[in-house]
Symmetry: C2
Subunit: 349 residues, 2 copies
Amino acid sequence: MVSREKRVTLQDVADDAGVSRATASLVVRGSKSIKPSTHKKVLNSMEKLGYVYDRVAASFRLQRSSTIGVIVTDIENPFYPHILTHIEHVLYEQRFNVLLGMSFESTEKQERVLETMLEHRVCGIIMTPVASTSPALFTKLQNLNIPTLLIGREVDTVNTDYVGTDYRLGAEMAVRHLIEQGHRRIAYLGGSPQGNTSYKERFAGYCQALQQFGLEIDPALIITSPINRDGGTRAVQEAMQLNNPPTACFCNNDVIALGAMIGLQLQGRTPGKHMAIVGFDNVQETETAKPGLSSVSVFQDKWGSEAAKLLLKRINGDQSEPTRIIIPPQLIIRESSTSYSGFHSSSPL
Amino acid sequence: MVSREKRVTLQDVADDAGVSRATASLVVRGSKSIKPSTHKKVLNSMEKLGYVYDRVAASFRLQRSSTIGVIVTDIENPFYPHILTHIEHVLYEQRFNVLLGMSFESTEKQERVLETMLEHRVCGIIMTPVASTSPALFTKLQNLNIPTLLIGREVDTVNTDYVGTDYRLGAEMAVRHLIEQGHRRIAYLGGSPQGNTSYKERFAGYCQALQQFGLEIDPALIITSPINRDGGTRAVQEAMQLNNPPTACFCNNDVIALGAMIGLQLQGRTPGKHMAIVGFDNVQETETAKPGLSSVSVFQDKWGSEAAKLLLKRINGDQSEPTRIIIPPQLIIRESSTSYSGFHSSSPL
DNA sequence: CTGAAAGCGCTTACAG
DNA sequence: CTGAAAGCGCTTACAG
């Protein structure tokens, strides 16, 4: 029924323009060693025949595609779309395309997604590795000579390009802020330590701040969870059921914090007032949240553009030592951490 | 410096296993017309040599890739990540990959992104067309025989598969709700009517609700803007500067509504209390917003999975008439539309 | 069940 | 500045 017309090839264009295929190829890719009159002739034929460049054939010939694989753990965490936008802005200029992968924090899924990307001959990869990612994955990438850049999380013993922030400092600032607000029992909500450097660094910052003020680290206050809203909701509920519950929560990131706010409300508590909260990432939603969510800004927009720029350098042959780009964090204070008034008369303040 | 090893090919695997390339190819793709012992031999060799299937070569040979192009207007609108997750869940099973494009509401960018996708020989496209998308784009896709599915917005005169909601009904429910709350001056904030069917349908619903209650449609209350937070912020500020400002806003979508909340706060107004607000899409953020944002749920998760399933059917040769999948909307009432108390003494209620 | 051969549409040295 | 030729790694009829 449908007319499945044969695709117009460079040969067709060359024939129509009365030149060789090689010449047509040069015109397509904008070589300037072509006579202007020939150039114009070819362009006309392309237009006339409706030629569409066959990037698959070109990739095949060149043994590398013009795609970059980007693997995120959870695109519904607003942290990532923001990064993606900025990655895209940079790649778009160089006519690279994004092959999008989602790992959903599963090592198994991550491996399969990565494998598919290799099959597609992506010429570079930007990824946030899931917790407990095997270093072996990266030897494979190295053997295949595919530049890889990690974003936001590193993998122990793997030495690649990396863009992130000083998580330890960010967490320390956040927790110190809570201590200065009078809090003594401060929980660490969400995430889990297994093989996730960004968790470990944040946790170190959390401990450091407590220790600076001579506060003890209570293991009961370290509550792990999946890194999504639900995880935050359940983590805060768990925290409230403790015999000696915290008065403040430092959350692994904003998604956890926003989930925790919901959890508090479900228990009839008012976030901020009955429980101080600080998040991490400073996603846009912090501003419209109820109450405004204090958070640690990590400037993800810069992560995206820096990551893309660095990866492009690698793709273009830069073989220098792996680079670590660390964007300094900044604490943004909003109502969620400054409006505490305790619950009932049990306020420890 | 770096050892750029030659990639292992199917020929290498075949040689190692002592079979022909054709046989190896059949094994790779899981044909069951191969003797189990041969199958195992080939698998062993693949493993041993570290073979990576060359999808580019295969795509080239087959004259179609295993990628699907997904073009969104703005991935930072949380509406889209949610859809993407569900598209991915379906495609992942069939080993299709997502080539991600972003149009940022620019026809020019959309055209270039689309062109690149054709160059990549995507075997299908799911997209939200930007406003004023030229129907000509789709004749090209049709000629190249690439199944295309529109999501959330249609293009006049273009007859393709479509997944969306009943925008008119959703808007009508939302505006009627505002009227029932006592509002008489209700603005329509954000978006713009040019060539955007989802806007037009929502606007029709808005008008319909007003007319049902015998209320006049005041052009001054129709305030257009770019579809992002900033747009919402500016739109609501514009609304408040009117001689006879609205007491309620129906917003084109949640991103506009959330931006409007910020705009109100910047002017010292409390969203909900000084201005009733209803959004559209019911993104997760509506729940943690201050106040909770009333919105029209459109069940985007279903959009994603339905879209992907339908597209896959087309890719597999289904030539039946274009399908329109319309998921009924549902009004979700929260505090932002039920806590109005007017501003100063000028309350018209 | 397996092998030999053709060919997908490009790009790139290499001649001229 | 342009042309003729080789070849990238697969898959698919076609033989056997």
